[in-house]
Assembly symmetry: C2
Homo-oligomer: 251 residues x 2
């Protein structure tokens, strides 16, 4: 049972919307501080891997002109409900093309760790670069090795009246892959149904991320530990990367 | 949903037998070292709260004449399968009466933490005292406060092909009660069924345990941290208590 993007993300969408969609709100202070502060009040923002859209809605509510993009149609179905009126695009981060119209782009909550291949990560960075105006800024957070060692070896569970979730996580330090086996029970019309899916993340080296950003044309890259904004537990090993498209880049 | 002894333990028995029954084997070295060493090779042993009987079988296999006792009929149903030929008694630790025939008694794997009332703990100790020969020894392990602080605030889950378990634990330091909400899914004849139960433990103060042992007549009480036998994680806050019925006690 190996992850087949994006079908596993479609299966995950209902549960993600219930339990993790709101969690991205805790990144708002970091996003405002690191990404938004120098941008115009009505800046155009690309929310890359917007998932179920709770953060997308919050940014839209702050007055930004937001476009959400995600590879999972089912995630976007929830995003349409959670962020009504916001432009949403169905495409994976590795394969989308938008004209250079955005002041800022962000990808929150370790979304980009779900890209398992270094070349595909570079492709995603290049796509974001192309979509940014000259001088545009790109903020994303990634789980680094400390996060996998801290959080990706164990189990946890949720039991609600009409559904339950079990996550069993492992991290393989040789392949630098983290696996989360997710089992979901949902009761509909009095019948319990089970679904199983696998989410996989790659743990990138900071040097590889910086190289990939450089290759895509980004400059002035800075890193910030999430623990500066979010108290532990929960922030260990999460790093924000901020990268800029040069002012004099070809539009 | 509050625990109603022993019905919740009956509901728990199938899962306990699958996932925790074998775990008690890791207490064998401590039991042999602390309890068995001075006893005759064919000593009579009372396995108090024997549960699904895996440890009972091991002790029987070592040549001891073992009697298992448990308050849950369903736990004992598994014990009959796991420890065939061993004498088993259906009674709670707080309410049983056996003549003084045992060289040793033990209650492993924090069973006695499931007794929620200090007076009932004293009653269990008195019953064990009465069942021991003069000079008999009683070994049990309890979760102390460190264990509740370490392990009883979080969730974990198990997902197997035909069943799944979710445990959500909390510890209330004011009442000194630990609660484990257990949700079990089992598939039989292609249909998933869910059951929910609550297990409750009390965190006793060492001074209260020593007082209760003294009241029951026990002497020469010694305590040993489980970490002396079992590597962390898993042993934190677990303490073995060894207590002796005096040689000159009235038989």
């Amino acid at each position: 049972m190996r992850s087949q993007y994006p079908s596993d993300y479609n299966s995950f969408a209902w549960v993600y919307n219930q339990h993790w969609g709101q969690y991205s709100q805790k990144f708002l202070p970091a996003i405002q501080d690191l990404l938004m502060r120098p941008l115009p009040d009505d800046a155009r923002i690309l929310d890359l891997c917007c998932g179920t859209g709770q953060l997308t809605r919050s940014l839209s509510g702050l007055g930004y002109r937001v476009t959400g993009l995600d590879g999972s149609a089912e995630m976007l179905r929830f995003a349409r409900q959670n962020a009504p009126g916001v432009d949403l695009i169905h495409a994976p981060a590795q394969r989308f093309h938008l004209p250079p119209a955005f002041h800022g782009a962000l990808s929150a909550f370790d979304s980009l760790n779900h890209i398992l291949d270094r070349q595909e990560l570079s492709a995603a960075f290049a796509n974001v670069y192309a979509a940014l105006l000259p001088g545009g800024r790109f903020l994303f957070d990634l789980n680094m090795e400390e996060a996998y060692n801290e959080y990706w070896d164990g189990t946890n569970g949720i039991a609600e009246d009409d559904h339950a979730v079990i996550m069993q996580s492992t991290y393989d330090s040789r392949s630098r892959l983290g696996f989360a086996d997710v089992t979901i029970f949902r009761r509909t019309s009095g019948i319990w149904r089970r679904s199983d899916l696998l989410l996989t993340q790659r743990c990138y080296l900071e040097a590889d991320i910086l190289d990939a950003l450089d290759e895509a044309g980004f400059r002035e890259v800075t890193t910030t530990p999430a623990s500066r904004y979010t108290p532990a537990p929960g922030a260990e090993g999460r790093t924000f990367f901020l990268a800029c498209k040069p002012d004099d880049a070809a539009a």
